[in-house]
């Protein structure tokens, strides 16, 4: 420093500008800097807004599916109609069709409306009969057949209300739309309003949505996700039993034993490519290989489970290998040093230490499989199981449905009430996924070791 000739202050040209004052170029650069930062913050903001809008639109659309309107009325179970022979014989009583129960119910509803003293101009008889769901008479029949002694008595029943009226209470149906709708009328809605004030119509939490099977096009109010949850559960069982052992075994081989050669390379490239194959291609594979070639039954959870297994294998292998790689070599060396074989060092020491990581990866893979739809569409996982929970799909080979496919199926129906059901089913699905991810995070926090 001292060698430098000190410039004489007099010889210095007068500075054009001060360091304290930013010149035009600096200002421009700083502005560019600020803009760039803003773009970044904006990107994050857009992503967050998208997430919030997405979740809130699904939740607000689907919350209605968890509440349902019921009508509680006394029904006189007329022995003449329901048990013509009068001997309470189940076989003969089961010959009485749902239609007759519908008539009994119609009479009960008419009586209830008459006794309530509600007067509405131009109220047609059809409006009163249509108050209850078409599903209600079937429910009533099941109840009577389960307990034949009820015939002849007057029982209090809680029956589902028609989807249009339920939609009216949830704001989906309005007086204007009802006027144009042949399935309902403004008079019917006024009647419903009046009945609600009297406490005959009640909207309450809808457990049936979670336990019921799917219902036909005309009865959105009775549709539920019971079969779909069971089907998804069966498939997850298959994935858990197949994908996890196979995936872990494959990763152990590739990470610990595989010699560096061409075959190993081929397997590795293959796995990373499989991870990126579109899911629908796995559906085509399932259709061609498992159903057409191997002759497994369509709509069976075993086929869905196998397809999802093949699909999640790469995910599980990749995360398991990462977990195995994270175990330091000193562990292996120590085991080998005291005389363990290579196999013993892996199975007794490396694998247990990698277990938390493997579990986390497995749960994330399972969550992915649970939400997958496209391949299941192709193998027809939308079986219509009517008798549920009385006769559920009992095993892996019985036709069943799956949650995401049920959602898709409902979006394809005409009645807008099914859109509410679809959103409700998504909420159920998201709750499952949320729990699984929470478990994965918990396992990671609790057991993860940093070396």
């Amino acid at each position: 420093m001292t060698d430098l000739p000190m410039p004489q202050s007099g010889a210095m040209p007068a500075p054009k500008s001060s360091l304290m004052v930013a010149d035009a170029r600096t200002r421009r650069r700083n502005a560019a800097e600020k803009r760039f930062r803003l773009y970044g913050a904006g990107a994050i903001g857009i992503a967050m807004i998208a997430l919030v809008v997405l979740l809130s639109s699904i939740i607000s659309g689907g919350a209605g599916a968890f509440r349902q309107t019921y009508l509680s009325i006394p029904v006189a179970l007329d022995a003449e109609t329901l048990d013509p022979k009068g001997n309470r014989n189940l076989d003969e009583m089961s010959k009485v069709l749902t239609l007759s129960y519908g008539k009994v119910l119609d009479r009960a509803v008419e009586a209830a409306v008459a006794s309530s003293g509600i007067e509405i101009a131009e109220l047609a008889e059809k409006d009163i009969d249509n108050l209850v769901s078409k599903e209600a008479s079937a429910h009533l029949r099941d109840r009577v057949l389960a307990d034949p002694e009820l015939v002849g008595q007057t029982v209090d029943v809680n029956v589902l209300v028609n989807g249009r009226i339920d939609g009216y209470f949830k704001g989906r149906v309005t007086m204007e739309s009802a006027a144009a709708d042949s399935n309902t009328s403004p008079q019917q809605l006024m009647l419903a309003d009046a009945l609600r004030e009297q406490g005959v119509l009640v909207t309450r939490f809808n457990w049936d949505f979670i336990t019921n099977p799917d219902a036909s096009d005309q009865r959105p109010e009775a549709a539920g996700v019971g079969v779909a949850i069971l089907g998804s559960f069966y498939m997850m069982l298959v994935v858990l039993l197949l994908a996890v052992p196979i995936g872990v075994a494959a990763s152990i081989y590739l990470e610990e034993f595989a010699p560096k050669n061409r075959w190993t390379d081929v397997i590795e490239v293959n796995i990373s490519n499989l991870a990126a194959v579109p899911s629908i291609v796995f559906g085509i594979l399932g259709l061609a290989a498992f159903i057409n070639f191997a002759g497994l039954p369509q709509s069976a959870p075993i086929v869905g489970g196998l397809v999802l297994t093949l699909m999640t294998l790469p995910t599980i292998i990749i995360s398991t290998r990462a977990a195995l790689k994270a175990v330091p070599p000193s562990i292996r060396d120590a085991a080998l040093g005291v005389g363990a074989s290579k196999m013993q060092s892996v199975f007794h020491h490396v694998l247990p230490l990698a277990m938390p990581g493997i579990l986390t990866g497995t749960i994330i893979g399972l969550a992915q499989a649970l939400g997958e739809t496209a391949p299941l569409l192709l193998i027809g996982m939308v079986a219509f199981v009517r008798e549920f929970p009385a006769a559920p799909p009992e095993g892996l080979f019985d036709p069943a449905s799956a949650l995401p496919v049920q959602v898709y199926n409902w979006t394809q129906r005409a009645d807008p009430a099914f859109i509410e059901r679809a959103s409700g089913a998504i909420i159920v699905l998201l709750i499952f996924l949320f729990c699984m991810n929470l478990l994965a995070i918990f396992l990671r926090r609790r057991f993860e070791r940093r070396w």
Partner: protein, 401 residues
Amino acid sequence: MPLSWALLASLLLAVAGYLIGRSRAYATAGSDIRNLHSRPTYHGASVALLTLTPAIIVMIVASLLRMAKTLSPEAAGLVGLFALAAAIAGLGWGITRIGAGYQARNVVERIVLGVLIFCSSIAILTTAGIVLSLIFETGHFFQKYNWLGFFFGTEWTPRFQGNSALGILPLLWGTLYISVIALLVAVPIGMFAAIYMSEYASKRVRGIAKPAIEILAGIPTIVYGLFALITVGPMLRDYFAQPLGLGNSGSSVLTAGLVMGIMLIPFVSSLSDDIINAVPQSMRDGALGLGSTPSETIRQVVLPAALPGVVGAVLLAASRAIGETMIVVLGAGAAARLGLNPFEAMTTITVKIVSQLTGDNDFAAPETLVAFALGLTLFVITLGLNIVALYIVRKYREQYE
């Protein structure tokens, strides 16, 4: 189910074999267990594995034969007996081999290694299964339908009576159009989000934004599809398409593209994050030391250095977009057309695979078989994109290692 009974019986035999093997090993060892080559549990395990392995091999071979239709399903009982016989033979052989010098551990380890190798080749088998089933059925399709008409046809009108026009071009156009819109949404947002989080964000912001983006990644595509159907589609129709006089359709290219873009944000952002972090810190320090602002460092040093990686990430995202199904099924519509209006409904390859393969399938009709040709096209396109992308990413990663 005679097969499952046979499997259960073999399992029981294996357990018995384990116990017998272990006790015999103890017996041969006499007073000093060090006389044995392997520990008694390995002797037991070797007997158990020698019992199970032949039985399982018999069953696998039998079910393969059954799938290939050379073995009738009625022979299941015979197969079960055969498997059981194999298990008993293995058990007997295993027991007779036990002795002080028998290297039970080596036998067990060899069998286990074989199982591990088999499991790792299932990935290969899957790929082979995909390729074979696609090629086989596509071959059938091209016997019934002219391949020139498929690859160069501009009309897609499947009819049940036959005489359909099955040209892929409108589907390919819809696929590409939607994917491009999705990438236009996802790439800038994803990249900027990644840049902001790795270079600017405070710990608190990162603590909120990162999990939020990860949640976005964990949401199943059917949820995005429903979002497109009930929220985005009607909104675009009511506020943009109808006032501008561009269309009345709730499902449109733009709906599907926007929602797919949102779906791809976390994918692009996590890939970009890896890529940006792979650029050595020394390059950043050099640029900052010369007086550039952080944004200049990123734009003029980090991004050019990361360019190959970014290209790879975009290609991977493109392959995702092309193969995506549920969003386009619910958001894009089903009308196959070649057009430019983004507010019109268009359709994609994946939508048509779904629509041709759901419902009652007639696997002799070209209208059903065309789905396999579409699947093969999709598979080839995505595979090609992936291979190129992985090659670029790998090549680029080596530069700085």
